[in-house]
Symmetry: C2
Subunit: 511 residues, 2 copies
């Protein structure tokens, strides 16, 4: 079998589903003629007349933080830089609303094929997802990351976590090996282990200008697999967060991805590309100035051509890439909604798993996301314009946090470095401990210091596949500018962080 | 361990979860004092200011079919009986709206502890479910089916299908046996098999006045397990749809349940009680007359005391009952929302599974269901009043379908019987084949006949755990009055059905 067929787990390949309401398809008696308008006394589904909801109105904003009751600076127009570093400054001009509509209505019934109505969205549905949203995901991927082959498909999931679990199930039988970036989104390890798989870490190069994965290490690992991991199965898959890597923030170039893909071809493994925030492709750091750069002059075409980092899908010719997408970071996490893009054989395996284990995704979330995208933003390009606004807002936040760090005493004294991320919501803060320092002890003590100063960060070591494997280069923390309520909070958080480090170093790495 | 602890699967008991953002809890340095107001640079969750939705308005109806654009008779007030049997008649009076509010607003932020706001509902959340809805499920069960012991809990699921899969995982290790009503909701068999379990059918008694499960058969099976099933593990659980059984429509009395529970105690097995439509407790059939009985004079207290059939929970003193609830039939299926009620040890196992496999349920669905129940219906009792209206509408539909059957030639000639359901949405139509008939061949032929006449039904045999085991009493079809668009459709469907049977019998059981 060409493509990814040989990589599908035996468990997934053996799974079949059927439903008891399906009638016989063989053995029609002579003279049988189907009735043109059969009436349903078989499906155990309530008529939509039983639903208490008649229609839903959704009130929307035109740009992030347009209304945010908790903010000091409560709109993007007013996002300001204040605090110790800089006086308050107002951002102008904001992007024009994509459409002037502020409220969209989801009707009980509609004949518009691009929309999902209450009668359909709140009814039982196929596990693959509701038609209009499924079509949107295909159109969106065709516009942003078109796969390099024809037989690809999409399927709706309950968010990226669900997508990752389904990818693990589709590929991994007990004892199957999956390669994983040594620092990673560790909940995925539980999915691997739930499928019976074995996670083997791959070294990362964690410094500015690096692309994450240590290609030399990976090549050597694959070439000398039997020697390095005697008795273990050959790797069946690589799991990578290739853009804005979690937790390091690093991003692979397209040239780099081609080299990794060549290895996948040579050693016949699948690539699970987890990409929750890749659309937040960020320009290089620059000191946050008078205005938020809302990319007034950056068109969707320019963004797609020059800024968005290509997916592994685009260099995939065989269907060995499984891309995990989510609406969590661009729309809202509580939707629990995302999708998978992969070869149709993989999608079929995922669909069977869904039919048995997770069932259909929330119709409520599907109809809201679909109709907001269609009715408010006008489809794929309008949604990409919303993404440009998200990107600009994240970019600004990243700049605010980095400036605070760059202006700090700890940075001036070279106690720390930061990696300027090309995408996403994470920054790695590297602590330059003197040679010979016992990293793990000192990092733990430093976390207590942060707690005393009042700032939460994630120690890189918490996100290691194998703490022993990674102990030697775990001298970093993951920072994020996503949850803060305001620029002020980011500035204050960055100040507490760097003050704590400075104090820690001044005291000879003691509390 | 008392209670259900010894019944939890080894797989579920061994599962643990942790999250990388959790800081150290031991080894605080001397002099450490936590900052009173720490700032978050650790959680990878977007601030709710990034959400495009500011608020949601939900437009509601006061009774089922108040607005239904597809109906001929398009409101409960106008629900009529027409067609061949009876002239059109109008229903009066409808129940008064519980609250006069027709639209509720879900705000971005609220301080009302009973409500879920956008900032919370669309954010990442605990797998157990959002606080206000979780509290509602506890309050609701306390009011309707209070367990007979203290240490019970609830957890939100993605609907009953998800709840069933989680119950199977929590109880069944490979080779573990679960007893299942011989005709059942067969998708559950895939959950059993996914957990490695073995389904063993238990006979049903399928006739009017029966309670479903054949108690004598069950008692004998348990007493002589080693003889009947040599080499198989003893049963670890019984799966039962005890109220309005799917597909037979049969319902167990509370006295009957006590006897089954005694067997569970004696032979130490768990009971999975699947109850998607038990709240639709129906009065006995009566010819549908001039008005829909909207139970104007039936109060919630009377309903709970005299009509609602008690759950296994209420006779459970040890925590061996796992009750699966869903909002699919009373609110809407597309929500993919339900909950499990069980001993806290079971809930903990389910919670661990959720954290790894399914993740959190849709926040969108949770906030809509919770806030509609609170803001429109005013909480538990208002929700029960809505259920009374659902019940009245289903009762009317059941009566319409049964009357059509009772008035038919096929019924007069005793070709068929029907079981008048005490609850739910299913009716078993029993075909009285002459002795010696090859049921399975003739049933299949009859399905073709129905297809020619234009009516869909489910052959009982499609829902058998083991077709061989059940072949001898598979002479029935499952009918439902849930999906029809109108009384007219039910009447026409029933007529096609009985005409087809009559024709089939008149032709000597041939097409």
């Amino acid at each position: 079998m060409t493509g990814i067929g040989n990589l599908i787990s035996k468990r997934a390949a053996a799974r079949t589903t059927s439903h008891f309401t399906t009638g016989p398809t063989d053995g029609a008696p002579e003279g049988f003629k189907a009735h043109p308008k059969p009436l349903p006394l078989h499906w155990g589904m309530p008529n939509d007349g039983f639903f208490p909801i008649d229609s839903i109105d959704i009130n929307l904003v035109d740009f992030p933080f347009e209304k945010s009751y908790q903010l000091t600076n409560n709109s993007l127009e007013n996002l300001s830089l204040s605090g110790s570093n800089q006086g308050a400054q107002t951002v102008t001009p904001p992007l024009e609303p994509t459409k002037s509509v502020k409220t969209i209505r989801i009707e009980r019934r509609t004949s518009d094929p691009d929309l999902i109505d209450i009668a359909t969205g709140l009814q039982y549905a196929n596990v693959e997802g509701l038609g209009p949203l499924l079509k949107f995901t295909r159109d969106f991927i065709t516009r942003t990351h078109k796969p390099g082959y024809e037989n690809w498909e999409t399927i709706i999931t309950n968010g990226a976590g669900d997508g990752l679990n389904k990818a693990a199930d589709a590929l991994l039988d007990p004892e199957d090996v999956i390669l994983i970036e040594e620092f990673t989104f560790t909940p995925f390890l539980q999915n691997v282990s739930n499928a019976g798989g074995i996670a083997v870490p791959v070294k990362l190069s964690i410094k500015n200008g690096s692309q994450g994965l240590d290609l030399e290490y990976l090549t050597d690992l694959l070439e000398n697999w039997e020697t390095i991991h005697p008795g273990k199965n050959k790797p069946k898959a690589l799991y990578t967060i290739a853009t804005g890597q979690n937790p390091t923030g690093l991003t692979q170039t397209v040239e780099f991805r081609k080299k990794v893909y060549d290895l996948a071809e040579k050693y016949d493994f699948a690539i699970i590309e987890d990409d929750p925030y890749g659309y937040l492709a960020l320009p290089p750091y620059q000191p946050p100035s008078a205005t938020i750069k809302l990319d007034e002059f950056l068109t969707v075409d320019e963004y797609l051509k020059d800024h968005l980092i290509p997916s592994y899908l685009e260099i995939d010719t065989k269907g060995r890439v499984i891309r995990i997408e989510t609406f969590s970071k661009l729309f809202a996490p509580g939707l629990r909604l995302g999708f998978i893009v992969a070869h149709k054989d993989v999608i079929a395996a995922v669909s069977n798993y869904s039919a048995i284990v997770t069932r259909t995704s929330s119709g409520t979330s599907q109809l809201i996301v679909n109709n907001v995208i269609q009715q408010k933003f006008g489809g794929v390009d309008g949604w990409l314009q919303w993404i440009l606004k998200m990107r600009a807002t994240y970019s600004h936040r990243r700049d605010v946090l980095l400036k605070t760090i760059f202006d700090s005493e700890a940075y001036a004294k070279k106690y720390i470095d930061v990696i300027d991320p090309k995408a996403g919501m994470f920054v790695a803060l590297i602590v330059n401990f003197p040679e010979g320092t016992d990293f793990l002890t000192k990092l733990k003590l430093l976390v207590w210091k942060f707690a005393a100063y009042g700032v939460g960060v994630v120690p890189g070591i918490n996100m290691a596949v194998d703490k022993k494997f990674s102990a030697e280069h775990a001298n970093f923390f993951r920072l994020t500018y996503a949850p803060a309520n305001s620029d002020e909070e980011l500035i204050e958080g960055g100040k507490r962080l760097t003050d704590a480090i400075n104090d820690f170093f001044e005291k000879g790495l003691e509390f």
